[in-house]
């Protein structure tokens, strides 16, 4: 039995459909993440799970118990959830210990004090219980917020963009710490974020959302290496689409040569069905293109981003198409220089070239080949 299960959930504001038929399940002890751009419906979904928001259709089950459906919502206070907010939402008039003990209600005093002490230790703030929230740094406040959510031993922890108010270094460190803590406490958790690094660092499984739908529910590894559609391919990680032709079940021809896929071509939009000579867009990640001085394939450096250990080059092919290449940092080339490259594609990801129709909108959606430097 899944710990949390959503079945075909829908929610809209007026005529604007925000969540459009979302289903997923999270097993006990697992950390799931809803990842997507602003306005994709992920926060609304989290609010539905928390019970702050009614649902228009579908069902939410927590521990096998129905908590939300159209016309019924178990109030948030009865759901036994713990929530961590973007702005921490600590109670400023209470001490740190007071905040953590807040949800402990009728617990006897000595047990309550013991739990608070234990949680302060868990989040690395032992001995700071008498301070007030404003005396702590942002990262510390967020850890208190986590401790407060954990205190009543909830069924489920919900984290709403928990690290977005923190600076990059702290964000990375804290997301690992929070994952450790959640795992140690055996908590089931759902995280919402627009930051894929945060999602990768925290989650066991990620649901990529766009336009109110889950585009793909998978492990971080699979999202990156086997995106289910163009949106996921584009949103998760960097990369460009290169036009190509399918020549066999294991081969695609692109400008840079023929790509051999160890696995049969996985082309989600049915290109295998159309047989040979099918037009596709092939996803090329920056690590699929390797800099090789001996290679006869040449490309011009049009942009470079120095990132310390490596440099992310934007390269222009002869045809004018741009690709990305991640190159070890000591291969320092100037803009305009031609450098040798070769392909090293382990697994080909390709999508059927959309039919370019600009009329009425009844045709398939045009997804432009995007480029992100």
């Amino acid at each position: 039995m899944a710990h949390l299960e959503l079945q075909d959930l829908k929610q809209s504001y007026g005529t604007h459909v925000v969540v459009n038929g979302v289903s997923f399940r999270v097993e006990t002890g697992s950390i799931a993440c809803l990842l997507g751009p602003s306005g994709c419906g992920k926060t609304t979904l989290l609010r539905c799970i928390a019970g702050f928001e009614p649902v228009a259709a579908g069902e939410i089950h927590l521990e096998g118990k129905l908590v939300s459906r159209a016309g019924y919502a178990l109030p948030p206070e009865k759901r036994r959830i713990g929530m961590v907010f973007q702005d921490y939402a600590l109670f400023p008039h209470l001490t740190i210990a007071g905040n953590i003990a807040f949800g402990l209600g009728a617990t006897p005093n000595n047990e309550r004090a013991a739990r608070v002490t234990q949680l302060l230790e868990t989040v690395g703030l032992a001995g700071q219980g008498e301070k007030f929230p404003h005396e702590l740094s942002g990262g510390q406040q967020q850890r208190v917020s986590l401790a407060r959510a954990l205190a009543p031993k909830p069924e489920l922890i919900l984290l709403d963009e928990p690290f977005s108010n923190l600076d990059v270094d702290l964000r990375e460190r804290l997301s690992h710490e929070v994952r450790e803590i959640l795992k140690r406490e055996g908590m089931t958790a759902v995280l919402v974020t627009h930051d894929q690094n945060e999602a990768f660092a925290m989650a066991d499984e990620i649901g990529v959302m766009d336009e109110g739908r889950i585009q793909q529910w998978d492990t971080p590894y699979n999202l990156y290496h086997q995106p289910a559609n163009r949106f996921v391919a584009d949103f998760v990680g960097q990369g460009v689409f290169l036009p190509g032709q399918v020549i066999s079940a294991h081969e695609v021809e692109v400008e840079l040569g023929t790509l051999h896929s160890a696995l049969p071509l996985e082309c989600s939009q049915g290109c295998m069905a159309c047989g040979k000579e099918c037009g596709v867009d092939v996803l090329l990640r920056p690590d699929d293109i390797i800099h090789d001085d001996r290679s006869t394939l040449q490309a011009e450096v049009v942009h470079k981003a120095f990132r310390g250990a490596d440099i992310l080059y934007s390269l222009r092919l002869v045809s004018g198409v741009r690709v990305l290449s991640l190159v070890p940092s000591h291969h320092n080339h100037a803009l305009g220089e031609k450098i040798g490259i070769r392909l090293d594609v382990d697994h080909v990801v390709a999508f059927k070239t959309p039919t370019r129709q600009f009329a009425s909108g009844s045709g398939p959606k045009v997804v432009p080949v995007t480029f992100r430097a």
Binding site: P76, H93, G103
Partner: protein, 245 residues
Amino acid sequence: MSYNWNWGVFLQPSASGDDTYLGWLFTGLKWTISLSLSAWVIALIVGSIIGVLRTVPNRWLSGFATGYVELFRNIPLLVQLFIWYFVLPELLPVELGNAFKQSNPLWQQFFCAMLCLGLFTSARVAEQVRSGIESLPKGQKNAGLAMGFTLPQVYRHVLMPMAYRIIMPPLTSEFLNIFKNSAVATTIGLIELSRQAQQLVDYTAQPYEAFIAVTVMYLLINVTVMFLMRRLEEKVRVPGFVGGK
């Protein structure tokens, strides 16, 4: 200007014979203070309830509270007082109205003035309570609910403790206002502080002394209120918020 200053007038026996003029002023002071304090209790209680109702997620309750606030803050205080004193007893069931009219006139005046001042001020307190609650981040309420607290409990333990702290300075002003506004009770005949000053002028023809003395008394009341409220503010302040450092 020829004016005979006579500060000794306060110690002279009054026209009623059983008191000094200073005694008159103190009697007035007593009425002013008891009227204002009892009205303030009403204003705080009713104002808090109405202010909270304005923020609850229920259209009927918040609509009622909005109507209440608009009614009481848009009618002049003096008009409200006349309605309470002259109109309302006529609207009561005949027996109740008669019973009211036959009771001690002093209590009639006091009761009407107290209700009038209390409810008038409650509309203003309600607005402050509402703004205090609304100034808190939305996450506070959700955090409380997520912790397993019901909405009334969230108000009691999360929202109100902060809202009251935040609105402490404007509440102090309202508290001061109620002492000053209590002077309108004069118009229905309650012999409070400012009324006593007028009487003093009528009997002694020493207007400067009378009004200077009354001014000083109002000033003392308000300085005391300000001092006490400041102490309270310091005691409950949360650093980083209004009233804190």
